[in-house]
């Protein structure tokens, strides 16, 4: 069979899948784009065409800028912490020790739990009256009075980041662990013979194997961190005084609470665009890293 007819055949076989993709992704996306140029309400009227009005209003609003900064802060810090913690945990779990299998199973638990459960759990831990965190910190003498972790703008975002890390670092660890197990034994053994210390071994022998998979984890986590909603909604609903309001919460309020579907759609598309740009930048980086290692 010639190459061209193989290609035709491949396309033909993929047609049903493409049709489904267009139906479940393409159509709603096109619909959202259309909606974003109107002043449609969620229920009731269909809305009038208003051009790029929604976009101009969104980008120029101080609410949007403040929320963008908060979301970026949340994403950068939590993803960075998750990467570091994840790699450290993977290195640890890659060692031979008694109870390793049990520990591996336990570690994945926070990630496997639904986010709402996680968030509720952490709300209890942070509870200003009965929370475990206050109790623990006062008992070891680090704190003299109970604090309101989620009620102060200074600590609310940080508390959310900790909760998010606890939930998501296991995913990074899992990916890193899988990559670590692909590192050939003889190479690590050879590096030992050559007298490489632990840091040199990590940097020059292990890291090259980790780079690709970690990049994937980084892309996944960054995209999700920019879209964070449920953990924030359950724990603070964006408070206190909007200090933890992320982009997704802003979209939710605009589109659903205030029922401005048109303006909510424009906001959602701006967030999508931001995430797409980030993903593209990462993808370029991955290609470069992969190229340099080959």
């Amino acid at each position: 069979m010639s190459g061209t007819s193989m290609t035709t055949r491949a396309w033909f076989l993929m047609l049903p899948l493409l049709a489904v993709m267009v139906a479940v992704i393409g159509w709603p996306l096109a619909d959202t784009v259309g909606l974003s140029f109107t002043d449609a309400k969620l229920v009731g009227t269909a809305g009038n065409f208003v051009g790029i009005d929604n976009y101009v209003k969104t980008i120029s609003s101080s609410n949007f800028r403040r929320t963008l900064i908060i979301t970026t802060e949340f994403a950068i810090i939590s993803v960075f912490a998750e990467m570091v913690l994840g790699v450290l945990a993977a290195l640890l779990l890659n060692q031979q020790f008694y109870g390793r299998t049990v520990l591996r199973g336990l570690m994945i638990l926070p990630w496997a739990l639904p986010t709402v459960v996680n968030a509720t759990l952490w709300r209890l831990i942070y509870n200003p009256e009965y929370g475990a965190l206050n109790a623990a910190l006062t008992q070891i003498g680090l704190l003299d009075a109970y604090r309101s972790w989620l009620g102060e703008p200074g600590t609310a975002l940080a508390s959310l980041i900790v909760a998010d890390c606890w939930k998501n670092f296991p995913l990074v660890a899992l990916i890193a662990l899988a990559a670590l197990q692909a590192v050939p034994r003889d190479i690590t053994a050879a590096s030992l013979v050559d007298g490489a210390g632990p840091f040199a071994r990590f940097r020059f022998v292990i890291l090259p194997y980790l780079a690709g998979p970690l990049m994937v984890a980084l892309v996944l986590r960054t995209i999700e961190a920019f879209k964070v909603f449920d953990i924030v909604w359950v724990m603070t609903r964006g408070g206190p005084a909007n200090s933890t309001r992320t982009l997704s919460i802003l979209v939710y309020q605009e589109a659903f609470s205030f029922q401005r579907a048109g303006s909510g759609a424009s906001l959602a598309l701006i967030v999508t665009l931001l995430v797409a740009v980030l993903a593209a930048a990462y993808a370029a980086l991955v290609r470069k890293t992969a190229g340099s290692n080959a």
Partner: protein, 412 residues
């Protein structure tokens, strides 16, 4: 989008019609309730079971969401073509629901017996622009609860009649070392904070809107926020109030860690007779205080109603269900968690027995219920006010500036 929605709806209707005429005559209603306060989930299930027993041809599917999700879930279901026949709605939503045609006008279904029997104040819960959008179901306002034990230890003879007196009594309790922070509120960035604020606005004789424009940034509206801020900064109020919802307030009060708490009716029997309550038997309740020269008592209208959605295909059965749920018999039977909407129930010993104090407070409080503004843009106004309250409490803005910003962001 709209064309395809219509097609989908048409398809669903056709399938529905097929089953309705050929398979069986039973109808199924979908109802949305909330999973907290007032009637508990178990109560609503029990009431519904009784309804199904009396009406075997009508089946009711119940769904429960937290109060914070009730509005958005209702609107979302409606936006995507419906799903519920009966929905529970808060007193602040009829304006928006009526404007956006979420609920149907049921004015013609309301009988003379209903009009005469139900307390006049309760009707304001379901009314907008002269029409009725459902039946009132949970009649509620915030009361001032107090711990009799602590007041006695502090040598206080009677609970406060004014907000200033409340501050003074709290100060005495604090100074005597009985409690570090005697007052507890629900000031989380949520509707709960607006309910506490509204109670104070009514005490200070303030107004939310004047001719459709924000008017809370001066006068009574400003005094109300100033009171909250001074109560917070002077240390007589629990600082964690700014992340509390009603259930947090209840837990703190039931643990004996508050001398005063502002909360809904449901807390009375749970705190005074509940087995988890450390203050059982010591709970006092009075209407929320007034302000000298301005008001005797204060109260927010926190009632809720049951309505029929405009997408319901069984409005008659839905109404049958609503009239059952709001009937005097059912309401009297469950009067321990939510007081009935029927005037004559308050003379019935089955309702009043064991909660005479609450009924006494209710007679004054329910008569003084102050509404939050009826505007289709209520959610925006409320969100802006929630932010203002928190900014003022946290000292990020003066009460004047915070409310001015809220007025600008209210969308009105």
């Amino acid at each position: 989008m709209f064309k395809s929605k219509r097609n989908a709806l048409l398809g669903a209707t056709l399938i529905g019609a097929f089953f309705a005429t050929n398979a069986y005559a039973e109808t199924t209603l979908n109802a949305l309730f909330m999973a907290q306060a007032a009637y508990s989930e178990a109560d609503v299930r029990a009431m519904t079971e009784a309804f199904s027993k009396a009406n075997p041809d009508v089946k009711v599917n119940l769904e429960f969401v937290p109060y914070e999700g009730l509005h958005d879930k209702t609107v979302l279901a409606q936006g995507s073509g419906g799903g519920y026949d009966v929905v529970l709605f808060d007193v602040i939503w009829p304006a928006e629901y009526a404007t956006n045609k979420v609920l149907v006008d049921v004015s013609s279904r309301i009988t003379d017996d209903m009009t005469k029997g139900v307390l006049p104040g309760a009707w304001t819960t379901v009314q907008y622009d002269g029409a009725y959008y459902g039946m009132p179901w949970i009649l509620d306002t915030k009361y001032l609860f107090y711990n009799k034990d602590i007041l006695e230890k502090a040598g206080i003879k009677a609970p406060p009649k004014t907000w200033d007196e409340l501050a003074e009594q709290a100060k005495i309790i604090k100074d005597k070392g009985l409690l570090a922070t005697p007052i507890t509120w629900s000031w989380s960035q949520a509707e709960a904070a607006i309910c506490d604020y509204t109670t104070l606005v009514s005490a200070y004789g303030g107004k939310f809107l004047d001719g459709g424009k924000p008017a809370f940034q001066t006068g009574g509206g400003l005094d109300a926020l100033k009171y909250m801020v001074s109560s917070y900064t002077s240390g007589i109020s629990n600082p964690n109030s700014k992340e509390f919802l009603e259930e947090d307030v209840r837990k703190v009060f039931e643990n004996g860690e508050a001398a005063f708490a502002l909360n809904w009716t449901y807390m009375y029997n749970l705190a005074n007779a509940g087995k988890d309550s450390k203050v059982a038997g010591k709970v006092g309740v009075v209407p929320a205080p007034g302000v000298a020269g301005k008001s005797e008592v204060s109260a927010v209208n926190g009632s809720m109603g049951l309505g029929i959605t405009s997408t319901s295909k069984h409005p008659d059965d839905a109404w049958k269900y609503i009239t059952f749920m709001t009937s005097q018999e059912v309401q009297n039977q469950y009067a321990k968690l939510s007081l009935p909407i029927w005037a004559s129930s308050y003379e019935d010993p089955a309702v009043t027995k064991g909660q005479e104090e609450l009924i006494g407070a209710a007679k004054l409080g329910l008569a003084a219920m102050y509404p939050r503004p009826t505007t289709p843009k209520y959610q925006e106004l409320s969100t802006a006010l929630q932010q203002a309250i928190q900014e003022a409490l946290l000292g990020q803005a003066s009460p004047e500036d915070a409310l001015k910003t809220a007025a600008e962001n209210s969308g009105l």
